[in-house]
Symmetry: C2
Amino acid sequence: MATLEEQAINTLRFLSADGVQKANSGHPGLPMGTAAIAYTIWTRHLKFDPHNPGWWDRDRFILSGGHGSMLLYSLLHLTGFDVSMDDLMNFRQLGYKTPGHPEFGFTPGVEATTGPLGQGLSNGVGMATAEAMLAKQYNRADAELFDHHIYGIVTDGDLMEGVSSEAASLAGHLKLGKIIYCYDDNRITIDGSTELSFTEDRGKRFESYGWQVLFVEDGNDVEAIDAAIAKAKMDERPSLIICRTHIGFGLPTRQDTSKAHGEPPGLEELNGAKVKLGWPAEPVFYIPESVRELYTGVGEKGHQAWKEWKETTESYARSYPDQWDELENRMEKRYPVNWEAQLPVFATDEKGMATRSASGQVLNALTNVFPQIAGGSADLTPSNNTWIKNSSAFQADNHGGKYLHFGVREHAMGAIVNGMAYHGGFIPFGATFLVFTDYMRGAIRLSALSHLHTIWVMTHDSIGLGEDGPTHQPVEHLASLRAIPNLVVIRPADANETAEAWRVAINRKHGPTLIALTRQAVPTYDRNKYAKSRQLEKGGYVLADLGEGEPEIILMASGSEVSLVMAAGQRMADEGVSVRVVSFPSWELFNSTTPEYRNSVLPAATTKRLAVEMGVSQGWEKWIGDEGVIISMDTFGASAPYKQLMEKFGFTVENIYSIAIKLLNKKR
Amino acid sequence: MATLEEQAINTLRFLSADGVQKANSGHPGLPMGTAAIAYTIWTRHLKFDPHNPGWWDRDRFILSGGHGSMLLYSLLHLTGFDVSMDDLMNFRQLGYKTPGHPEFGFTPGVEATTGPLGQGLSNGVGMATAEAMLAKQYNRADAELFDHHIYGIVTDGDLMEGVSSEAASLAGHLKLGKIIYCYDDNRITIDGSTELSFTEDRGKRFESYGWQVLFVEDGNDVEAIDAAIAKAKMDERPSLIICRTHIGFGLPTRQDTSKAHGEPPGLEELNGAKVKLGWPAEPVFYIPESVRELYTGVGEKGHQAWKEWKETTESYARSYPDQWDELENRMEKRYPVNWEAQLPVFATDEKGMATRSASGQVLNALTNVFPQIAGGSADLTPSNNTWIKNSSAFQADNHGGKYLHFGVREHAMGAIVNGMAYHGGFIPFGATFLVFTDYMRGAIRLSALSHLHTIWVMTHDSIGLGEDGPTHQPVEHLASLRAIPNLVVIRPADANETAEAWRVAINRKHGPTLIALTRQAVPTYDRNKYAKSRQLEKGGYVLADLGEGEPEIILMASGSEVSLVMAAGQRMADEGVSVRVVSFPSWELFNSTTPEYRNSVLPAATTKRLAVEMGVSQGWEKWIGDEGVIISMDTFGASAPYKQLMEKFGFTVENIYSIAIKLLNKKR
């Protein structure tokens, strides 16, 4: 007779396998192999309340191998989250809360969107960073508001991905001891045995990062897992618990083979497993009453814990009203009323400044009003201008710091920043050169898919960076980032547009914003003479109508090229042509305005349109129309002083002027 | 009095520093810190011939920290490569061979384009793989054609990047003992001390991967470096030699600081270093005569070695004429005359097959004629259909295998495949899901920038993959890849177009090709009734003119959506509308045809145009014009069976038909 515990574990196994079998799609192997690990974490350690999935001080549980999603959905259902039996029975179907891979914001209790391997493991590093920062800043001896762990189940694939190497190295450096990951060491990947490609000494590797590494010889041994987790909690280092598991545990012929990984087992194999583990073949989605009670009890116990914490917050609020106010505001994404007054205003200046410099000033002004702004650079702090002057570097011995030295680890930076956003209480940012968004697209995409409030600060945004040459010069990057749904890309034209870009980014609470900034100086426009920079929020706006009457031609550009079209336009106006100059910092923002507004900026009647951008032309056709012309950069750049490059590639006032005149004189 | 050796090392230091100072841009720190390492490798170990930079059996030298490029250029100049003093004196200037970061194909003797960190280190794993494969296949007991090492100077940044963790783990697994990397352990990064973010135990980490790790306590100690390299050569494992160095060695105030890394030292600091190291301040770019002789001698010794090797090849050619023929052809990129006859022809089939399946068949047919095809998948072999049936997996104990199990390591896969292409003798390929190109863009971009003949096989190319959901469904990826200059992206519509896509990829010898393939079945068209699939090479072509007379409307699509526009078009034609159906698999190929051809496919007169693609609309405006309409996928997808998704997102014959009719009836 199976014990209640065994039944509770088998319930996870077979709810998951039944879900996959019914959907005729999915991954039974991970849930069947790690059910005992999940059981141990969730019933003996995890602090959570199904009625308050947003509890600030809950432990976070990350299923980094997101393909095993049915395991998580089963846990959520059983412990009382708003995930129904109907959802389980409609795994991977439209309109249910149980998509193929867990999606943050879509299913209550899902802490991170996982599936792309390595991300969840790395997000946890950001969550642990967030926990440490909040604990340091707000906990008081008589009222501890933050003290939670980051649990995870991580897989072979997670460990193989480079992003997790980067993140784990940083986690070890920062001694983020709240991280406790159980590694599903099943020795099988899609291609077959891990002997084919993954024979490194994983334990030794994580030790080299400064982790505590523990071993559980039998991944079904609840007591051993429990003991290891207890030991992990005692250590100041992050912990990796290597659990020897068996993929598809119980399946008669598929256990320990790659066939168990990613396809429905088939009824015969599934029922064979049920027989083997003493489980009834029918009903499917079977939950013994005692098992239901067990998990419900765990959920209710968690709810009690939440109530106690709630009482703590009340006494905290009485004792420390200012801190409480500040904390509540940041956790609930409420802003000080007059925060926008803190945005610097930059004086008109022909010589101007690099927008990366302006960005540094704006960021530092904002950190005075927003304690929740934290982040850093992938080892380009002086170049990205992201140092937070009123703070210090977050380190193992300085949890009060807000600045993160990510090291040369762009992808982990992305995932860690996302993790801080998942955690809550932060407006996190990450910075590098625009060209190296290529190294972190996996994370940028997930920030967009998960509606995270993250800010990506990307400097050196064109061939304008000069001598470093084509390896460092972004050309296709604006286009490739604009292509990502739900990511707002802004390339400000001057210092004041840069301040406005930050305003947009701060106000965009449910999606990421990427700000592309120059290395080189650009003029700061006279906003009394030209349009107000506030108009940046519309994505595209009439910076100036030069000359008299309706515009005969529209010159449009983003970022540093605005100064070029402005000068070319002025020259044409001096010659009697009526020229409209449009500053076009963000396609996404422009697209979100009304058709009327868009037509007011780009009137259908004005078909002579010239766009100028030091990136690939792709997509500009939409704005210039059939008669329009684009001066773009459709090849890789070159290594030389930037003014020579701009000359070589046609980004000069002279060239723009001459092409514009040709366009103007061209017969329809 | 400095020894000749010291002078030879200081020559490297000060040529580099003078170059940076003159350019007023660049990175003096690495060359000054690692000059002795470079000297030791180049004068005591590296097998090379400046007169034959393409020598098949040369050792490869990779400066993975590409920012230290002046070091490499100095070495190339001194040893007799075609890099002149004028080039050195015009570092980072237009028209010279000395760009900011080393560029393959641009400067003789540069083995890999480096600068984006981690890439060079990982490229070397591909080079070592290539060496092992060629040695196994062609070496004979009496005639060894391949026996060379892969040397590299790798940096903190290289080690921090995830791509190098992935690649190093695989190199250890594969026991690629020809790899000998000297690690510039200078303990300084741009943000400051490595204590800020990089305190892992690097030696232990590389040991965990299965590397031999050696230590050199003084990075200026030529004998110690020499001994370590000698030891590395004796070991069957790849070796990491950790050399304690000093960034900007010699600079009076900047040595061992981040100020030494990436900016000109200034004359005072530079001359201070010269005084300190006993070097004349003038002339700048000073090369003592004896030093010049020394390096020239090394180059000439290398030339002698090449001559001996050349003799071996002659005896080899006599003894093994067939093998020699085959080898010479592959090294020189010459193909068998009738190879294209091997391309499978797929029979008309309404039900059809997934293009990934067709691709698997084509690949396997090609491996029968091309011994140089080698590659693999990032642990998605059964899904990508890339297994090479007539071969086996390349492993430490099986260098005869051509298939690479990369593990779940997309970025390293990209860099390793690039490394094989850099090496020569291969048409290498790498495969994963299209969505995970995000994880390897750094490498894909470099394949394009370096004009490498690599083939990227990307399956599961749309929401057509179904239940795995938005984390796995590419939406923005076609657009973002099309944006990369010099990358040809092809999305074939059926099995026969897939064969043609491979034909293009094989024939495109100086640039990468990415083939996007479906998970789901698509019809195989009747090529007697419709246009020949060979037309794929033009990128876009008239698949069918349905109905009578000039087309009233053009329906265009790529990949799996071609079958939808075909059916919608047929329905309109049945109702008497004259419809042109354009299969549009590749924008880049279409762009490379003549304007006349393009106008013949998309006549200016036909302004009613509808494009259909399950990706973002970005860029399609160019082809549809102001009156056109796009049915696209501008949001993330969802998790459900794929037919439901296609319904939900409007990719049905019914929806296309109705939008097309509306477009047709719309007044201008």
